[in-house]
Subunit: 163 residues, 2 copies
DNA sequence: CCTACCGATCGGTAGG
DNA sequence: CCTACCGATCGGTAGG
């Protein structure tokens, strides 16, 4: 809290005239991070298109959100365990619903014959999200590869693999 | 340190008759975690076989190490940033060398024509390791899918994708 | 928004 | 291996 205060040019204790506590700040950052991903999933689900098209939009949107909001994304993905029980349950629920939108999309593509490699939609969704979420660990703005190209490479990788 | 002592049936302060400090413990856990992965890479590189065969052995070995040593693996992957500069550099070097063994293997397969989807071995290695390392977050012994089957699914996913 | 604190916790030490 | 601490740090509060 003292560090946070310093970035605002005041003492840590002075923050308490404006906020309830440290935990409240964490909750708000995590919730706003989570809702960005949830909004994307809702948008793509509503927009229609083939499984391939929707998967591409999910990947492009996920990469864009994560590249533009690295701190909030990392907090949403990594810090939920420090939340009190009730809020943690809510955040895990957001994550589950987001994962479910991938699972549904992959299951639909499996049934339509578009994604024959998907025999277990839950595990395929986990793999796709593993690649996407690992970005918080290695993406650097101004890095060698830009966000748009990363999204395109991820799409190619999850659809076709290395062969 | 008090928690650690309690698991051994003594006080936190009593640990200091046996160890140098908290940091030393962390360093040893991380180093032993890292050397398991490094040993795997050395073994596979020495064993020969086609790029496909070596990739399969890398994936099987990685999953096996991670499934059998979840805490040490998670510490190796996540806690390096808390190390003092010199040891942190050493640990990041271990990680770089391990990643390089994937990169080399993928580059070799790209050149041989086995992995035509690999146009940028560095980014492909990152994707493969993203799927493998995410296991520390979701693998549960006694879970629905066993370690051997997970390895097999990961191999299928990285080689063929969802199509 | 600051002054002046509080109680709890942490890694660690001296001395036995 | 314990007793009895130490200094530093943390989230937070009372009162102005």
């Amino acid at each position: 809290m003292r560090d946070l205060g310093q970035e605002l040019g005041l003492l840590g204790s002075s923050l308490y005239s404006h906020i309830e506590g440290k935990e409240q700040l964490l909750v708000e950052v995590i919730r706003s991070g989570g809702s960005m991903f949830q909004d994307l999933a809702d948008e793509v689900a509503a927009s229609g298109g083939s499984p391939f098209e929707r998967l591409r939009r999910m990947i492009e949107g996920h990469v864009a959100i994560l590249a533009a909001n690295r701190d909030a994304s990392a907090t949403f993905l990594n810090e939920a365990r420090f939340l009190p029980d009730d809020v943690r349950a809510e955040v895990l629920d957001m994550r589950d619903r987001y994962e479910a939108s991938f699972r549904l999309l992959l299951a639909e593509g499996a049934e339509s014959g578009d994604f024959p490699g998907v025999t277990d939609p839950a595990i395929s969704a986990t793999f796709v999200l593993s690649v996407l979420n690992a970005l918080v660990r290695w993406f650097r703005p101004n890095g060698r590869v830009g966000a748009d190209e990363i999204a395109s490479r991820i799409y190619d990788f999850v659809t076709e693999g290395i062969t």
